[in-house]
């Protein structure tokens, strides 16, 4: 036990450097996936058949390939096609694109859940599609979208660990590094798990609060 406490004092500073990169990767891919997700979702619900089909194809293609494979592709294969990214860029872009598919489906579900009456009323008022989306549909859809969005945030925090496979020195890789050089797997991996919990539990509690708030607001 004393050894664990001694380790508990020695390792965290090193692991915290990893936490910083974990946060950067998570936030970066969150922003990118949200932006792309909105694009795919709007394409899917707009009235142009071609854009609908294109968006569905893209989203399903992204969902059909494991995130890890996408990351390897962007980091190891793209250089051969002329696009060389740093590990951090590759991880944010890779995770951003991978998660944009899930974001898109979430946004689409929220938009399609809006009562058809709202759309008919907007049309009868002479609103164009863009105005209707902006003033009527999206503001209402936000309430439905937020709780699953929070869940996706939590998933992204954990999936940032996949960036460790393309050399990003975030928390998981830092942990593996310390563990494999000191052989203190138990201490180190326990600390890594605890650090992830410290980051995700507040997020989970916040999403729970969101679900309750949104639930009440809809009534």
């Amino acid at each position: 036990m004393e050894k664990f406490l001694a380790d508990a004092r020695a390792f965290p500073p090193n692991l915290l450097q990893g936490v910083w990169l974990t946060i950067i990767v998570t936030l970066g891919s969150l922003v990118l996936s949200t932006m792309l997700g909105i694009v795919w979702a709007l394409m899917r619900v707009c009235r142009v058949r071609f854009l609908q089909r294109l968006s569905a194809g893209i989203v399903n293609g992204i969902r059909g390939i494991p995130i890890l494979v996408q990351l390897f592709y962007i980091y190891f294969v793209m250089p051969e096609l002329g696009v060389t990214l740093t590990a951090l860029q590759a991880s944010i872009i890779g995770l951003g694109i991978a998660y944009s598919a899930y974001q898109a489906e979430n946004f689409r579900a929220g938009i399609e859940a809006i009562d058809k009456g709202q759309i008919e009323a907007s049309e009868s008022l002479g609103m164009g599609w863009a105005l209707m989306m902006r003033r009527v549909v999206l503001p209402q859809a936000v309430k439905i979208i937020l709780p699953p969005y929070g869940n996706i945030m939590i998933m992204m925090l954990k999936d940032s660990s996949q960036a460790s496979t393309i050399t990003v020195a975030e928390l998981t890789l830092k942990g593996q590094l310390i563990a494999s050089s000191t052989f203190k797997y138990t201490s180190v991996l326990t600390m890594v798990a605890v650090l992830y919990l410290v980051m995700s539990v507040p997020l989970i509690l916040f999403v729970g609060w969101l679900e309750r708030r949104m639930g009440e607001a809809r009534r």
């Binding site: 051969e80 060389t84 020195a169 890789l173 563990a179 494999s180 050089s181 797997y185």
Partner: protein, 250 residues
């Protein structure tokens, strides 16, 4: 009645299994798929081959045990050994003091040092770490090179890669300016021509030398003794030398 017969049959068969094991043990050996020429996955036969594999097979023949070679990532070899997933480590693993605290090694098999690779366009004659001051360098996860590199404080970053080919690939595209790994493994990879834009710096003098050895758990003292006895015999009768020459190592 049926249950009793079943139970008796089970006990008898397990007893015969145990006695059969004592004579003809099969030990699981951990190796890596990307450590050519020491251990590598031959994609044509889909088996792990290499210096250490040939060696442990010969040792097994001499000491009286069969081996089952399993490929895994280098950094997972020691934890797999200590958690009983494998019984022996036969890979390009240096015998080092930190490792000796956790596992036991056989006598040394082959000695070498680290090699430095840079992109071909970089023709500078690097001789030592100080020549690469301010650069980001790469090394493989779990190897004995990481700590010495980090300790120098000369490099902006010591990037950690899962496998040596991953380091070679990054130097090949120029994304990584310098990589450190086992010199024989780098030389062999470059000779095969898969990484045309990589240059092994001949002017560089290794500073992190070591000898590779066979690894066993600390609790397997008897196995270690048998391995060492066979290794001694095979060194004296020239088998070890033949294996090294087969793979182009001195």
């Amino acid at each position: 009645m049926l249950l009793r017969k079943l139970a008796v049959a089970l006990v008898l068969s397990s007893l015969t299994c145990l006695s059969a094991r004592a004579d003809d043990k099969v030990l699981k050996v951990g190796s890596t798929p990307t450590g050519i020429p020491f251990t590598f996955l031959d994609t044509k036969t889909n088996t792990i081959e290499g210096v250490m594999v040939d060696l442990i097979k010969e040792i097994g023949k001499d000491a009286g045990f069969k081996v089952e070679i399993e490929g895994m990532q280098f950094s997972t070899l020691i934890p797999s050994l200590t958690s009983n997933k494998i019984d022996i480590i036969a890979a390009a693993m240096y015998i080092t003091a930190p490792r000796k605290e956790v596992i036991d090694f056989s006598g040394p098999v082959y000695t070498y040092g680290e090699g430095l690779i840079v992109p071909k366009g970089d023709s500078k004659d690097y001789k030592e770490f100080a020549d690469l001051k301010g650069e980001a360098v790469g090394a493989q996860k779990g190897t004995a090179f990481i700590e010495p590199l980090q300790k120098t404080g000369l490099f902006t970053e010591v990037k950690i890669y899962d496998t040596i080919p991953a380091i070679l690939a990054d130097v090949n595209t120029g994304r990584l300016k310098a990589g450190f790994a086992d010199k024989p493994i780098l030389a062999y990879n470059i000779k095969q021509g898969v990484f045309p834009e990589v240059r092994l710096v001949t002017s560089y003098a290794s500073t992190i030398t070591g000898s590779v050895g066979i690894g066993v758990r600390k609790s397997d003292g008897e196995l270690l003794a048998r391995i060492n006895a066979s290794l001694d015999k095979l060194t004296k009768d020239g088998t070890v030398k033949k294996i090294l020459e087969k793979w182009g190592l001195d």
